[in-house]
Symmetry: C2
Subunit: 109 residues, 2 copies
């Protein structure tokens, strides 16, 4: 079971949010590539990756001395679902949501 407070906490740091967004754009990346993205030290990045991993936001693949990280789609799904799991709230709001979340990976662009 996904702990949403932990998921949100993992994404509440600017460095970590950037790392996740980068991984979503670029796909799986080794720790070194992620470390080069930021101004902070490699040990600091390493610990951020650990926080994200322990929260289930990213996964790790080991190959030799390299550790490849990638975003866990299930975590993203859990976040989107959390916002949607309150039908009464959305029904009560003035917002019209139809189509708002009509995602279409294969689609236009």
């Amino acid at each position: 079971m996904i702990d949403m407070t932990r998921t949100f906490a993992a994404l509440s740091d600017p460095t970590r949010l950037s790392l996740v967004e980068y991984l979503m754009r670029q796909g799986e990346q080794p720790a070194g590539a992620l470390s080069e993205l930021t101004d902070i030290s490699a040990p600091a990045v390493s610990r951020h990756l650990k926080v994200l991993r322990e929260a289930g936001v990213i996964g790790q693949r080991v190959a030799g001395t390299h550790r490849y990280y990638s975003v866990n789609p299930e975590a993203m799904r859990a976040i989107a679902s959390w916002t949607m799991d309150h039908k009464a709230f959305w029904a009560g709001s003035l917002e019209r949501l139809d189509g708002l979340l009509a995602i279409d990976p294969e689609g236009e662009e």
Copy 2:
């Protein structure tokens, strides 16, 4: 513009997440009702509400001595959108998302 790290930080505390979930279920509520939900003191709840408000997660309506709080739908929309704003990621993942977020406020239940 919504600062996502701030939004996620606001939701990263168990007490605050509970408050938001309660407000989504129950709709607008005065601070007193929210305070009764938790074991912690009223001042502590008050500060949690402030954090949520400053992050834009909830809004406040003042009436006499009462302050009524309610969830800001725009904040929920922003969270769901953040997860969806990475089509390449979703397209690359194995997850099939069609219908997953098919919300239907008027619908079944």
